[in-house]
């Protein structure tokens, strides 16, 4: 009989690399900002670009967060998510036109009220639409990825065409509320007011979502559902209901993203949702499907990188995002913050 192996516990501290690894994604964002600072000659233009990159990232995050949660929770991939973005933007524009007397007045309070009413209206519309979409289009194809992709794509086509029926085929130009036009100057850099507002709204949404997911009971159920849905159901929670709630919330957020994106671009078309979906998919993939934090970090990286590269080498902007995705998938094939499924 051979002797038992010697018991020799080691009490060494984890190496630096191991301790840093969980924070690597967020450090990557910081690194990107620093790299931008080094690469871009003038500090003022760097500041401008950073703010617009953050604004863009926040908007993409708002649109992408619902998609990633829906996937994490029920393994449903919604290629029609872009439809909510478009509908949100169009409903938003209708509200803005209705409230023209409020948005036209050079009064910040009135303008913000109008913006809030618009956002709430658009979110209500897309939330309702999300409910209908889930019931009619997604529900019959649970657990079948191929059919989900096909059917939600079909839903996207139908919704895009309905938008054209309702609002006409021409693109619509939007004017931002009076007080959000123009820019403020800070440290020699021109910062567009609207972008600052977008960054603010994005941060609020992210923090609210984080709070809901981390501190409330419903958030606990959602997180547990992402990790192990069967167990949550075995404990007596109706995961379908939770899922519908998340789907509706995600659709409403996509509508909010649509309003913000429309005001950012100042022009909307029926196809805008599908165009933004390209960035959204990149973000969702590099963040790790199902992870809200990963989605947030990924969105910031995509927004920043796109703005920096567009300044340094305009033609490489879209390619840069693909390159980012390739690099991250080589580093972590399941995305930056992979969701661990207990299955």
């Amino acid at each position: 009989m051979s002797a038992a192996p010697k018991h020799a516990p080691t009490m060494a501290q984890m190496s630096l690399a191991e301790r840093v690894a969980p924070y690597a994604p967020i450090l990557l964002v910081v690194g990107l900002v620093i790299a931008g600072f080094v690469a871009i000659p003038a500090t003022s233009s760097w500041l401008t670009l950073t703010v617009s990159g953050l604004a863009m990232g926040m908007m993409i995050f708002i649109m992408a967060s619902g998609l990633t949660l829906v996937f994490g929770l029920m393994d449903v991939i919604n290629f029609g998510h872009g439809a909510f973005v478009s509908v949100g933007a169009f409903v938003g524009v209708s509200f803005l036109l209705l409230l023209e007397h409020m948005t036209g007045a050079p009064n910040l309070l009135w303008n913000l009220t109008a913006l809030m009413v618009t956002i709430v209206g658009a979110m209500a519309a897309t939330g309702l639409m999300g409910y209908a979409f889930e019931r009619v289009i997604v529900k019959p194809v649970y657990g079948h990825h191929l059919k989900q992709i096909l059917v939600t794509m079909g839903g996207l086509i139908v919704v895009e065409q309905l938008i054209i029926v309702l609002w006409g085929p021409e693109e619509i130009y939007i004017t931002r509320p009076e007080a959000l036009k123009g820019a403020i100057t800070f440290a020699g850099a021109a910062l567009e007011k609207y972008r600052l507002v977008a960054v603010g709204i994005g941060l609020v949404v992210f923090l609210a979502m984080r709070y809901t997911l981390r501190r409330t009971k419903i958030g606990l159920i959602v997180r547990a559902g992402v990790e192990n849905g069967e167990m949550v159901q075995a404990l007596g929670y109706n995961l379908r209901m939770v899922f519908i709630g998340v789907f509706v919330a995600g659709s409403a957020l996509a509508g909010l993203g649509g309003v913000l994106w429309g005001l950012y671009q100042e022009v909307i078309t029926a196809h805008m949702g599908n165009q933004t979906m390209i960035l959204v998919f990149i973000v969702v993939i590099i963040g790790g499907l199902g992870s809200v934090e990963g989605c947030f970090i990924g969105a910031l990286m995509v927004g920043l990188l796109q703005n920096y590269v567009a300044f340094l080498e305009p033609k490489a902007a879209l390619i840069s995002n693909i390159a980012l995705m390739v690099a991250i998938l080589m580093w972590r094939p399941m995305g930056m913050i992979p969701v661990v499924k207990a299955k």
């Binding site: 992709i149 096909l150 086509i157 309905l162 390619i319």
Partner: protein
Amino acid sequence: MLKTLVSGDTPRSPILLAVLLAILVCLALAPFLFPGVRSVDTAARICIFIVLVASYDLLLGYGGIVSFAHTMFFGLGAYGVALASSRMGPGFDSLLVGSVAGAGLAALLALVIGLFSLRVRAIFFAMITLAVASAVAVLVSQLSSLTGGEDGLSFKIPRALGPAFKFMDGEIFGVKANGKLLKYYLVFISCFVLFLLMLRVVNSPFGRVLQAIRENDFRAEAIGYRVVHYRVAATCLSAAIAALAGALYAIWLRYVGPDTTLSMEIMIDILLMVVIGGMGTMYGAVIGATLFVLAQNYLQNVLSLAGESVSALPFLPDLLNADRWLLWLGVLFILSVYFFPTGIVGRLRGK
């Protein structure tokens, strides 16, 4: 003999057989049966889209992989021919070089994308192809010095394929024996051969393994097949064939542009054709492409008539507007995914 030609995969339904034969005869004799510029053009488009849709079906219907980059591969072949012809001068050698280079590049790109995404999760593939394809479309419209940008490229093809070339005097059954006729038959025969080739592939052991993976990839892996290798190989093959279809399309039109080859609209058309025709049946591609292209060219007139007839009512005319036919196709698409996922062909075969 005939059975060998279709690789033992007969239509297995008398109605389907009759329809397929009718389509084959109409396409084979299109310049003689329908001697108009527009109808011959429609016939050539049908031939090319049959190949394109069948190559997509190889991926979607047999491999169970959703790709949104099929138009990118289609465009690679088309731009390959256009660039080779405009750089090397018109000639059959440049057509050959362009098609082969386009198909090779398409297969290579498919290999890279496939290895990146299929290795991790098949569902990534759909999203990544969507992102890459749109990036390529933007790139093509930006690199205007090379690709002609939004305007696209017009180029010359060999004189033997043009209307000025007469390969014999007089007429054949009342049709001028010129290069245009030769060009149609170049397209038709190439498409026919490519289609038979794909039929051969899906009925080979390779095709059987692909179907096994589609049904249950876990079990296929357990039996001992390298699932990733098979999926990537199917992606490359389908990309190369799509590129060849693109090359034929460029030769037929003597023009390439982002709208005719790379746009998202064409991708959606391909999806509709595959699903309505029938996924996982090569013949579905024939039926789907034929119906769709015919509808695209002729049904819109019917729809606009319907729109006029209800013009007194509110709102309905907008819904029945000829430009809104995609709306109705989208509804049809969703319904067919739900209720008959095997499409028209599956219905005819009584499955």
